[in-house]
């Protein structure tokens, strides 16, 4: 068997069904083997698209996403996608071709040290130097990518390794002496946490992306209901707690809801689960949840007390740990009414500081488009986003109720992520309605993947909130830089609907509020890839907002006037 065939065998052994990629000189042997295999390959138009598709696929399905690129420029085109997966802990295996092993280090044609380039943004990487290692390395790579705190693993494969004749043997048992993720939470810590929760008068859950990875939503809901604890989620955690539940506070942080930020600030117990106290969440660290005792449950020990001192750390899988806490709480005697005044306070904040926006006659408000998507899909779609204002409106004005239905670039904030991620999500979940909320700026960063969507007939609906600006940056300029709009006006736009039509997708331009709903319905019904260009109010801002470096209860805007 050839090395390239061993790669295909190894992918199949890992349960891989689909891969996203684009060939080139140093992966021709691999693509030749792929030609005869029943793996489904999606040919992209730019390797960044392949990485984001693999990422979106992984987030929607929970399975490991796979992308392939050739050496040199193909590999470097993956870099943003790998970094994005790393920051958001997505399980991904990226396969790159490499110059022949005897040429490595000679600046050979299309040689790039991709293991070196990606070293800080991968969970692990391999450069294959012996073709007999292929099956072992692939098995390890998928194991590492998908277990513990997930992340991208890169496998760099010189062309001669793909060509080599080998005696293929399926990989044996995994032996990684330095890799032993802690899954089970420490019993004593679990008991301490349960006691702290039972004793708290103003508890709040702060739940992040780790909740989604762990699939711990049932346990969270059970504890929240049992103990009457309100829950706020991070951008990455949206969907891990149903926002139609009274205990939901929506998102917290820089663009969080007023009530979430007030609740966290005034809480006496903050229970962080699968979240990492990121600066976009905490604002000024010294004042974040300053009255609260802090519990932190996380898979990654390095996240604990990284930014904020934690009173009760618990390393482990969120599902296991929360189940443990739930069992302890159930076994305990409790005073049920203890948090009642706190919940009253939370409800009062919700009433006083609801999310809202001012409708403007003659304009399509961007928030309204999100509300319409929410209404028409019955909060049931997989919602993907790019990065910017439209992303924050999608986070705030859509009702997130289910895990793995919200796919957005959190840690890296990658413009251009949403559309290819939506394609990947649709490939993984063909029965779901998949909507990409895009910015007019962001969409153009991977607009070429329209070809991929059309070619394979992947019906995602792109809703561009076209404000003619790199809106989020413009907002900062408006608020903090005296309205000096340096290089943020992008009114020189293509006709997006015409571009979509030219690619063979459905394209529509929507300029009137009354047409918004129909356009969305028509696009979903068409079962074709579709691009809806909503001409929204250009200078609308995302509120509330916590200015950089401020405490999260020092929000501006967003108060109902």
């Amino acid at each position: 068997m050839k090395g390239s065939e061993a790669i295909i065998e190894s992918l199949k052994a890992a349960g891989v069904e689909v891969v996203f990629g684009l060939p080139g000189g140093m992966v021709i042997p691999l693509y030749d083997a792929l030609y005869d295999s029943d793996l489904k390959h999606f040919l992209v138009r730019h390797e960044q698209g392949a990485a984001h598709m693999a990422d979106g696929y992984a987030r929607a399905t929970g399975r490991t996403g796979v992308c392939i690129a050739t050496s040199g420029p193909g590999a470097t085109n993956l870099v943003t996608g790998i970094a994005n997966a790393y920051m958001d802990s997505t399980p991904m295996v990226a396969i790159t071709g490499q110059a022949r092993s005897d040429l490595i280090g000679t600046d050979a044609f299309q040689e790039a040290d991709i293991t070196g380039i990606t070293e800080p943004i991968v969970k692990h990487s391999y450069l294959i130097k012996n073709p007999n290692d292929i099956s072992r390395i692939f098995k390890e790579a998928f194991y590492i990518a998908s277990t513990g705190r997930p992340g991208p693993v890169l496998i760099d494969i010189p062309a001669d390794m793909q060509l080599a004749e080998i005696d293929y043997r399926p990989a044996g048992k995994i032996d990684l002496p330095g890799y032993k993720p802690t899954l089970k939470g420490h019993k004593k810590q679990i008991i301490s946490a349960a006691k702290a929760i039972a004793a708290a008068e103003k508890p709040v859950f702060y739940a992040g992306g780790g909740m989604i990875i762990a699939g711990a939503e049932k346990e969270l809901l059970a504890i929240a209901k049992l103990m009457k604890i309100p829950v706020t989620t991070t951008l990455m955690g949206l969907g891990c707690f149903p926002e139609d539940n009274d205990l939901s506070l929506g998102m917290l942080g820089m663009h969080g809801t007023g009530y979430a930020n007030y609740a966290v600030t005034h809480s006496d117990l903050l229970i962080g689960v699968g979240a990492r106290f990121d600066d976009r969440v905490t604002g000024k660290l010294e004042t974040f949840a300053r009255h609260a005792k802090k519990i932190h449950i996380d898979m990654d020990p390095a996240e604990i007390s990284k930014n904020i001192a934690i009173d009760i750390p618990i390393v482990g899988d969120a599902k296991d740990v929360l189940a443990g806490i739930l069992a302890e709480l159930k076994a305990m005697k409790r005073e049920p009414k203890k948090t009642a005044p706190w919940l009253d306070q939370v409800i009062a904040w919700k009433k006083k500081h609801p999310l809202h926006y001012k409708d403007e006659k003659g304009s399509i408000m961007p928030q309204f488009v999100i509300e319409e998507v929410n209404r028409i899909t019955k909060s049931n779609a997989i919602l993907c986003t790019d990065v910017g204002q439209h992303q924050m409106w999608s986070a705030l004005f859509y009702t997130h109720t289910k895990p793995r239905h919200w796919i957005s670039s959190g840690g890296l904030g990658t413009m251009g992520f949403g559309f290819p991620a939506a394609i990947g999500a649709k490939v993984g979940c063909p029965d779901k309605t998949v909507i990409d909320i895009a910015g007019d700026g962001s969409f153009q960063m991977n607009i070429q993947e329209l070809a991929t969507a059309v070619c394979y007939d992947i019906p995602v609906v792109v809703c561009i909130l076209n404000n003619g600006f790199l809106g989020m940056v413009r907002q900062w300029q408006e608020l903090f830089w005296s309205k000096r709009y340096s290089e943020t006006a992008i009114s020189c736009q293509p006709d997006f609907a015409a571009v979509a039509e030219a690619y063979g997708a459905l394209g529509m331009t929507i300029t009137k509020k009354k047409d918004v709903g129909d356009a969305i319905r028509t696009a979903i019904k068409s079962k074709r890839p579709a691009v809806l260009d909503f001409r929204v109010k250009p200078e609308e801002n995302v509120f509330p907002m916590v200015p950089a470096g401020k405490s999260i209860d020092e929000m501006i805007g967003g108060h109902k006037t």
Partner: protein
């Protein structure tokens, strides 16, 4: 504060780059780094000396633990550790000063490795401080070149 981290790693390609890269990314300067194989040829030991506060050293060791090829990290307790370094010093010395330099070397239990008309090369093993002290004393003669291995360290006792 100086820390000596004793890091057991799988003897795999790229390990050194990963470990060194992690320190620089997290803003640490490595004072010294010594690498060698252990009693198990598949496992190497890195002895890394860094200057750091308590909190960031904890963060960097946690991050180090996340490297797949890192098996074990010990932040060695200075009190319970024997640390040694080896240095080679080439010192200017001619017939007039040779005796004095050799006398100094003797006091420090250093070895004379090579003598030329104008230089003496000395090998010294000892603590970081001892090597510094000898170097200071030899400075007036003119130190042409120093080569130091960086610290290696082992815990006292049976463990």
């Amino acid at each position: 504060m100086k820390h000596i981290l004793s890091v057991l790693v799988e003897n795999k390609p790229g390990v050194l780059a990963r470990v060194a890269g992690l320190f620089s990314r997290r803003g640490f300067n490595i004072d010294s780094l010594a690498v060698g194989i252990t009693e198990n040829p598949d496992v190497s030991r890195m002895t890394i000396t860094v200057d750091a506060e308590e909190h960031p050293i904890e963060q960097v060791t946690k991050q180090l633990h996340k490297l797949i090829n890192v098996i074990k990290i010990t932040d060695l307790d200075a009190e319970k550790t024997v640390a040694r370094e080896l240095a080679l010093l080439k010192v200017k010395s001619d017939a007039k000063t040779r005796a004095e330099v050799m006398q100094l070397a003797k006091i420090f239990r250093a070895q004379i490795l090579d003598v030329s008309r104008k230089t003496i090369t000395i090998e010294i093993t000892g603590t970081f401080e001892k090597i510094d002290a000898l170097e200071q004393l030899l400075q007036p003669h003119g130190v042409v070149e120093i080569v130091r291995t960086g610290r290696i360290a082992i815990e006292r006792g049976e463990k």
